[in-house]
Amino acid sequence: MTDQPPKTRVVILGGGTAGWMTAAALINQLGQSCDVRLLESEEIGIVGVGEATLPHIRYFVEALGIDEADFVKATHATFKLGIEFHDFGKIGTRYLHPFGSFGAPLKDVPFHHYWLRLHSERRGGEIWDSSICNVMSERKRFLPPKDIALYNYAYQFDATLFGPYLRELSIARGAVRTEGKVVDVGVDPETGNVTALTMESGERVEGDLFVDCSGFRALLIGQTLKEQWEDWSHWLPCDRAVAMPCTSPPGGIEPYTRAHAMTAGWRWRIPLQHRVGNGYVYSSAHISDQDAADALVAAVESTPMADPRVLRFRAGRRKRSWSKNVVAIGLASGFLEPLESTSIYLVQGAIAQLIELFPIGAVRDEDRDAFNRSVDVEYDRIRDFLILHYHATERNDSSFWNHVRTMDVPDSLHEKMELWRRSGRVAKYSQGLFFEPSWVAVYLGQGVIPEGWDQRADVDDAQALEGAVERMLAQISTAVDGMPDHAEFIRARNASIDAPA
């Protein structure tokens, strides 16, 4: 069968971050198999999800053949080594969830087991010092790693610039953009497939495969195909955010995102090159919009650049993100609050699966099912990890924290926490997000100290072990001494682009 089937006509509805990421990736990876057309309306605003990202974004950008320095400059990006959580386990505490491990395994045993043992003997210092990301963050240093086994990084960028950046790139590579609102969705009465979208102008846009990136509106997957939404707000009650950018304060740029726990949710702080993104994610059942906005204004550390703006959402996911010939990507597919900067990652994961399972001719049930299973695994695993941030707390200072502290958690999370409490072990998964160091960070950062640890960590003499740990910490500290200041690094990079070749 050397003859190729005709090109698949892909129609993407919605030109936000998800829509243009999908367009850019499809045109790049499957340009010879599909035509990509994106419909967007300037009248419909975008939510502009996530200014903070995870390291996976680097590979997305790289696969598109984008030069990192150019990208960082264009999106006013900064580098991110992790997220610093304040006041989550207990008011007055803080910890960094790093994009890297704690120490290095010794004799096949992860470092944190040795730390747990030393800690029980009141030795070994702080585990955070064994994370190079943490030491870099404390000192506001940044340098890309020689090897991502050492640590990794992501970007904090202006999401309203990311979409347009990809739009320009996609159109240059052959994607077709159509401006206007969709007023009618044509459905084949026999198959139930979507056949065409009719624009306000009267133009009828036909397609073989439709990607619903219309956000919470979910025009195709929800309004047209009526795919059910699985609601998770009983575990993740935050349903609104109030956002307000501020000027960059003096004193350098933090190479990390901050999350401060608040009375009825938490507040993000994302430093970009030219400003700081701030927002309060809250549960409307526990605080009013006005009180949330006031709390945000009171908490920010520099001058506001705009009035507070309220966003509404609901935690959960579509029971099936791919139904008939419609694939939902982004908010039409599901929503998890940005506590761990997962929004863009989820878009990226869905795109990768769509490319891997891209229909050859008609859509097959087997491919659809495989896609939906994969989306479910991603969402379910992130969901558990997010719930942990709320549930593992001593806070009893508000009705919000009382609720999340005492609520029943999913069985899948309960088992993971039990395993950790027994012996400091993290249930192992290799699919989806958040592996051992991430869980270790949140557990220890929020005061969940296990009763035991790997028996092999008891073998060596405590003093010898402590010496080895001290040497490792000294090595980390010396390595960071040689790294440039984060803001300096960005300035130098930007300047190198402006300089003539």
Partner: protein
């Protein structure tokens, strides 16, 4: 505190390769823990104790327990194993060489097998195994260690070992201060209140208490079967139920590949060892062999490893790989001596993920062979059915956590069996034939030239012995 719950003593039932490997690994990882090996009468059906195949992944186990690979070879216990040649296995097809390590080179994110399939359909590809360094070495009776430079084609293969089982057993039976060996059989079994085992009385009268009992007694599973009898039968997917092993004198010039030949009522494998060839005939005669797995290999304080946990026929020789994998997993997840089910459950969950895919891989060879026609109508296990569906449709291999069968192994078997994707993956057409075909030809030439310049395996061994 862990120290309050730490395992202080371990009894290993079974003195074959598996039991001794477990004793060695636990004693080394947990000095101060008393390990007793009960060398019970060997069970010839405990295939992990009697088969010679060690997959490349054994290197990690050997490294952790301090077994020197080079010493195994220089002392004549082991030979290098690069590949297995399958003959008459695929009814319409050609013989094929199943090698360890990579086939071809991927083009960016596009796997090599998809590139090969396109060229093959256009009649412009050599046999798939011509693009494997390991297969080419094996075909020519040669051996060399993989090159260190990952960009050099001569680095793109892997090797396992073929051990003489009795000598290898003697090698891993290392005397150590914390390990005791008792030659006896199991008499009385005393139970714990929670259902576990408190102590064994051996036939020599010794009463042996332990915190943890490791059951390496073979498919009879003499300890763990007392606790729970829950077995998943795989015989529908691995239909031949007997194995006859025979030793044939060799000419002292071992090959680097095994040979498997399919026959009407079974199949034969030849393992060339130093000075002899071990021949296994899988079919109507010989020792009964079990195929299946225990649903929970870890119950209370009893852990089954080897054929007591998962039993397979000898195809691809995954027995020891699974046993070593299980030993390392048990060490990674070693519970306290109260054996909370949340801890043993995690072991059982992960162990199941590993074994299920090995089962699928073996089942593939039978259900898609075509030699045994009655098997073509057997319904595959769900996860294999999914793999077949996606591979036959467009050359996709679904991802499975904890899988130890590599993508290269899957594609070598699938394509060897003639399971060729119907469609090109849409990503793969970005590499045009005008580009891929010459690149493939250059690669095949390069592999041929690399191998042609090497001395024979016999010469290699003579050099090592010096």
């Amino acid at each position: 505190m862990t120290s309050g719950r730490a395992i202080r003593s371990i009894a290993v039932a079974g003195g074959g390769i598996v039991g001794l490997s477990a004793a060695l690994a636990f004693a080394r990882a947990l000095p101060g823990t008393r390990v007793t090996v009960i060398e019970t009468t060997p069970d010839p059906a405990a295939l992990a104790d009697v088969l010679p195949t060690l997959h490349p992944m054994a290197a990690r186990f050997h490294g952790l327990v301090g077994v020197d690979k080079a010493e195994l070879v220089s002392s004549g216990i082991a030979t290098h194993h690069l590949a297995t040649r399958f003959e008459h296995w695929s009814a319409p097809g050609q013989p094929w060489v199943h090698a360890f390590g990579a086939y071809g080179k991927p083009a960016g994110v596009i796997p090599f097998d998809q590139i090969w399939v396109r060229a093959h359909r256009a009649g412009q590809a050599l046999d798939y195994d011509r693009y494997s360094v390991g297969a080419e070495l094996a075909r020519n009776g040669k051996f060399v260690h993989p090159a260190k430079d990952p960009d050099f084609t001569g680095s793109r293969f892997a090797y396992g070992l073929r051990v003489d089982p009795e000598h290898y057993r003697a090698h891993v039976r290392k005397p150590a201060s914390d390990v005791a060996f008792v030659e006896a059989d199991i008499g009385e079994v005393e139970r714990r209140e929670d259902g576990g085992i408190a102590a064994l009385t051996l036939t020599d009268g010794l009463r042996l208490e332990a915190d943890l009992f490791i059951d390496c007694t073979g498919p009879g599973a003499r300890l763990i079967s007392l606790l729970e009898d829950s077995f998943e039968d795989w015989s529908a997917w691995m239909p031949f139920d007997r194995l006859a092993l025979e030793s044939v004198p060799g000419d002292g010039m071992p090959a680097t590949s095994d040979r498997i030949t399919a026959e009407a009522d079974g199949w034969t494998i030849e393992w060339p060892l130093r000075g002899r060839t071990l021949v296994g005939r899988v079919g109507p005669q010989g020792t009964d062999i079990t195929r299946g797995r225990r649903l929970r290999p870890w119950v209370h304080n009893v852990l089954a490893i080897g054929d007591s946990a998962t039993a397979l026929d000898p195809l691809h020789g995954y027995q020891l790989a699974l046993a070593q994998n299980a030993i390392l997993l048990a060490l990674e997840l070693l519970p306290g001596r109260d054996f909370a089910s949340v801890e043993t459950d995690e072991y059982n969950r992960r162990a199941e993920q590993v074994t299920r895919r090995v089962r699928d891989f073996l089942a593939l060879h039978y259900l898609r062979s075509g030699v045994w026609r009655e098997l073509a109508s057997v319904e595959p296990p769900d996860s294999l059915a999914e793999t077949l569906d996606h591979y036959e449709h467009r050359g996709r291999l679904p991802y499975h956590e904890e899988e130890i069968v590599s993508r290269d192994s899957w594609t070598a078997a699938l394509l060897g069996l003639g399971v060729v994707p119907r469609h090109d993956d849409p990503q793969s057409i970005s590499v045009p034939l005008e580009q891929s075909v010459p690149a493939m030809q250059r690669l095949a030439d390069e592999i041929r030239d690399i191998v042609a310049g090497l001395p024979s395996y016999g010469a290699y061994l003579a050099h090592v012995a010096r």
